[in-house]
């Protein structure tokens, strides 16, 4: 009898164990590695992607974005739209409703006050909030009741999904951050490193710029998730080392941003322990053409300003010829492998927003030469370099110090030299190039060169803000302390008018059509921007990790709650 009871007990416990298989915390530890270590877990005080992705495991917004670029509810019950009344008919307000029964990881309820506080926290001018653009144009954020938040805008906003949408704009706990507003924001080290959140994980320990240790959030809204009991993010080293730790030694389950040379990608995949995954967002490596004269002979304050049009590149034929001479497929093969594809667009995705412009993909050296001949650039003295009116066709081509970019420079220089263009290369420390110091001659905004190369992207699937960069008023000038995003000094009233039209258009199909037109205006119609490679983010995950779905529109860890151990 006793034996029978014991056996029954054993059987029962086995059944229980079987049921527990799908329960929270049954899959042990999830190990992630980032080539850049996490500095802070509060996305409002960091601009670094590494910090924002890491914090997305802990703090969550009302809505996230799925891999197709569609909004998905996170803390909200549903996505507010015009149809369901969540967005007011005049498009000046949006109302979010929280899911019922939401709890913070410390067990207290999530209320509308937390969202109101978060908006005030980021909108405080003394706080130096790095996601302030998410709250731009917001007039007020108020709690209608304990679970309803109404965001009112100063003017009608066709795209109101900015505040509380995506990993850049999560909701913080009011109780934890109440004493940390304004100038006090950076001093709250504990709160900034160990924020209380609603996400699948919570921080248990953090060493700055090294490791974040996390555990499953006991109050996560889905009782069966996450499958992992603990998680750790180890940072530091380089992309190669991170990729190796997943693909070759199997020490880690997931490595973010493993952008390594194509031959290394192939060698590591051959080890058979993991796989590379890629997501294509809007990141485009491009050549930017200077429409103004950067000549050092001009007085300081007039160099690279609209006062002096560029003596060579003002001619569209020259710009087109330079683009035609480039073989983008070779660039991809050399620099990015699976992590890139050739493109002619500034807006390469999402598909519904991307123009069908592929005219630049095929290299056309003869066509390029003919265009230069037509433009009057001929090699009159037989030295292999074209000239016109006694002036050599000389181009200063700058970019940042980066092995792939230097490869690109060398290849492009070869093609342009074949074309009869004298090319001078320059590589600048990225800290200086992107640093924006108005006193430095080497910033990308100052653009004291003829052509420069870097990558840029839109941080939302809707590219309105991103395309707005090329308006006349955004050109960096001495008066604007060399700040501004229109670094080509492109100025076309028709473009500015269309941007205004886009801002007032609410119909999504119409918006997409306008975005495509705007994209074509700065690329194939004017060759002001010469896109080269559509860059994806390349990450690696172990074959024993299941559930990974790459996402280019939001945090890559957007569905980390659903990840599991493949048994």
């Amino acid at each position: 009898m006793r034996l029978k009871t014991a056996l029954l007990g054993a059987a029962a416990s086995m059944v229980l164990a079987g049921a527990a298989f799908a329960d929270r915390g049954t899959d042990g530890e999830l190990k992630l590695t980032f080539p850049q270590a996490v500095s802070i877990m509060n996305p409002y005080l960091s601009g670094g992607t590494k910090d924002i992705w890491a914090s997305s495991m802990v703090v969550e917004p009302m809505a996230g974005i799925d891999p197709q670029g569609n909004l998905i509810p996170k803390l909200a019950v549903e996505i507010p739209t015009l149809e369901n009344g969540g967005i007011s008919a005049d498009m000046t307000s949006i109302t979010w409703k929280l899911k019922p029964g939401l709890l913070w990881s410390d067990g207290t309820p999530v209320t509308a006050d937390d969202a109101v506080f978060t908006a005030a926290y980021c909108m405080d001018p003394a706080g130096g909030c790095s996601q302030a653009t998410k709250y731009e144009g917001v007039k007020s954020v108020e709690a209608v009741d304990a679970s309803t938040v109404k965001v009112t805008f100063e003017a009608p906003k066709p795209n109101p999904y900015t505040a509380f949408v995506g990993a850049l704009s999560p909701i913080l706990q009011k109780k934890q951050f109440e004493a940390c507003t304004g100038a006090a924001a950076p001093t709250c080290t504990d709160a900034n490193n160990m924020p209380i959140g609603t996400g699948p994980f919570m921080v248990t320990a953090m060493t700055i710029n090294d490791t974040v240790a996390l555990a499953a959030n006991p109050n996560y809204r889905d009782a069966a998730l996450p499958a992992f009991a603990t998680a750790v993010i180890k940072g530091g080293g380089d992309a190669e080392g991170s990729a190796r730790a997943v693909m070759e030694t199997g020490e880690f389950d997931y490595a973010w941003n493993t952008q390594i040379p194509p031959d290394s990608q192939a060698a590591m995949t051959a080890a058979g322990k993991g796989q590379f995954v890629v997501a294509f967002g809007t990141l485009v490596e491009r050549l930017e053409m200077n429409t103004t004269d950067p000549s050092p002979d001009l007085p300081e304050g007039e160099r690279s300003t609209a006062k002096h049009p560029h003596p060579i590149l003002s001619d569209i034929k020259v710009r087109t010829a330079l683009s035609k001479a480039i073989d983008r497929s070779i660039l991809v093969e050399v620099g990015y492998g699976a992590g890139g594809k050739p493109t002619c667009n500034v807006i390469p995705g999402p598909d519904a927003w991307a123009s069908d412009n592929t005219g630049c993909i095929a290299q056309d050296m003869e066509g390029a030469k003919a265009l230069l001949d037509e433009a009057g650039w001929k090699d009159s003295d037989g030295d292999g370099i074209r000239d016109k009116d006694g002036k050599k066709l000389h181009i200063l081509y700058q970019t940042t110090v980066n092995p792939i970019r230097q490869d690109f420079q060398a290849l492009i220089k070869d093609w342009w030299t074949e074309l009869g263009v004298e090319v001078e290369l320059k590589a600048i420390d990225p800290g200086v190039f992107f640093g924006g110091d108005p006193g430095s001659p080497d910033t990308f905004q100052k653009f004291y060169a003829d052509v420069e190369m870097y990558a840029n992207n839109s941080d939302t699937p809707d590219p309105e803000v991103y395309l707005g960069q090329y308006q006349c008023k955004n050109a960096p000038t001495p008066e604007s302390q060399w700040q501004g995003e229109n670094i080509n000094r492109f100025c076309d009233p028709a473009y500015d008018a269309m941007i205004a039209e886009l801002a007032g258009t609410t119909d999504i199909a119409k918006r997409q059509e306008l975005a495509k037109k705007l994209n074509d205006m700065v690329t194939k119609d004017s060759m002001i921007v010469v896109p080269l490679v559509h860059r994806g983010t390349l990450s690696a995950h172990s074959n024993t990790l299941g559930g990974v779905v790459m996402n280019a529109w939001d945090t890559e860890l957007w569905n980390i709650a659903d990840w599991y151990r493949v048994k």
Partner: protein, 335 residues
């Protein structure tokens, strides 16, 4: 000796102040901006507000004086508060890293133990390898062992750690799978098993650095031994009929160690300074890795504080080396 020490200590104060100003100006004048790692999608006015929140827009001398005050008053006050429960300098801003927005000394406190264990062990291992090689190489000059020792030292000198480290990773971690490639800084040694695990993860960085250290020290040891081997007192000792072991290990070694000890003492600040490349390669979150990260991010308070601490250590250990020299060699008197 005491007057000498005191005089040197007093002299160190203006030296260090001058060093701190030079470092501050150098770091400040170096190109780069703390905003350079912020994505391009963040507009200029938001960047400007972020810079203002950091205090990075203040004139350089205001920031320097503020830093001096924070370093010499606010931070020590924090330590005293911690020890004695007092309340000095309450509410005053500590030195905050621009990168992580947390106090620089918290970061240093988190990282120093890792640096001391890994780099310290590597230094110790280096010494333990170097001394026997140096002694025996000198004793059997031009023998096969000496040639091999020279070869070893040349390799240690000329192969940079980023190469030898990667080589070790590929051989011992990827092919053989004996050791991990990433250092787990959260691990605590609580029992025998975790101790072994700690040893395994320390193996590769210690090996990489230990070889480089051993190369330098073994050369010093060898040349110092050679110098002493031909001295008259050695011949006298042999003539007295002493055993070879006593002659070499007692008479020659003791005298040869004097300059080597100084070299070893002078190398100690570099243990605190960490090893930028090795720490980065193996993911050891030490001081060296912190320094390079801070330099990349133009995190001025962090770079300034670390560089100044290194300067203090170098000045102090120079003094210690001088004093040790006097203690070991009674012929040298500073008074």
């Amino acid at each position: 000796m005491l007057t000498f020490t005191l005089r040197r200590l007093l002299l160190a104060i203006p030296t260090l102040l001058a060093i701190s100003l030079v470092i501050f100006l150098l770091v400040d004048l170096a190109p780069g901006s703390p905003m350079s790692e912020i994505p391009l999608t963040v507009p200029p006015d938001v960047r400007q507000r972020m810079i203002e929140a950091m205090g990075a827009d203040q004139p350089v001398f205001v920031r320097y004086v503020l830093w001096l005050r924070q370093f010499f008053w606010v931070e020590p006050a924090q330590v005293i508060n911690h020890w004695f429960g007092t309340d000095f300098a309450a509410g005053e801003q500590r030195i905050l890293s621009w990168q992580s927005r947390s106090p620089v000394f918290t970061v240093i406190g988190q990282r120093l133990p890792q640096t001391l264990t890994v780099i310290g062990t590597a230094y110790l291992v280096g010494i333990l390898i170097a001394l026997p090689i140096g002694i025996y190489s000198a004793y059997r000059q031009y023998s096969v062992f000496d040639q091999l020792g020279t070869l070893f030292a040349m390799i240690g000198f000329s192969v940079p750690t980023f190469f030898s480290g990667t080589l070790f990773i590929i051989i011992f971690a990827v092919w053989l799978g004996w050791f991990p490639t990433k250092y787990d800084t959260m691990m605590e040694v609580t029992d025998w098993e975790s101790f072994l695990k700690q040893l395994r993860q320390m193996a590769l960085p210690v090996l990489t650095l230990g070889l480089a250290n051993a190369a330098t020290i073994s050369r010093y040891m060898r040349s110092s031994m050679l110098e002493n081997m031909v001295q008259d007192y050695v011949r006298t000792a042999r003539a007295k009929g002493m055993r070879e072991k006593t002659v070499v290990l007692k008479h020659v070694l003791r005298n040869s160690l004097i300059p080597v000890v100084t070299v070893i003492a002078l190398g100690i600040p570099s243990i605190f300074g960490g090893a930028i490349i090795t720490e980065n390669l193996f993911g050891v979150n030490g001081i060296g890795a912190a320094l390079i990260l801070a330099i990349h991010a133009s995190d001025l308070p962090m770079v300034q504080t670390l560089a100044f601490i290194f300067a203090v250590l170098i000045v102090v250990f120079n003094l210690i080396a001088d004093i040790l020299y006097g203690l070991l060699d009674p012929r040298i008197r500073y008074d």
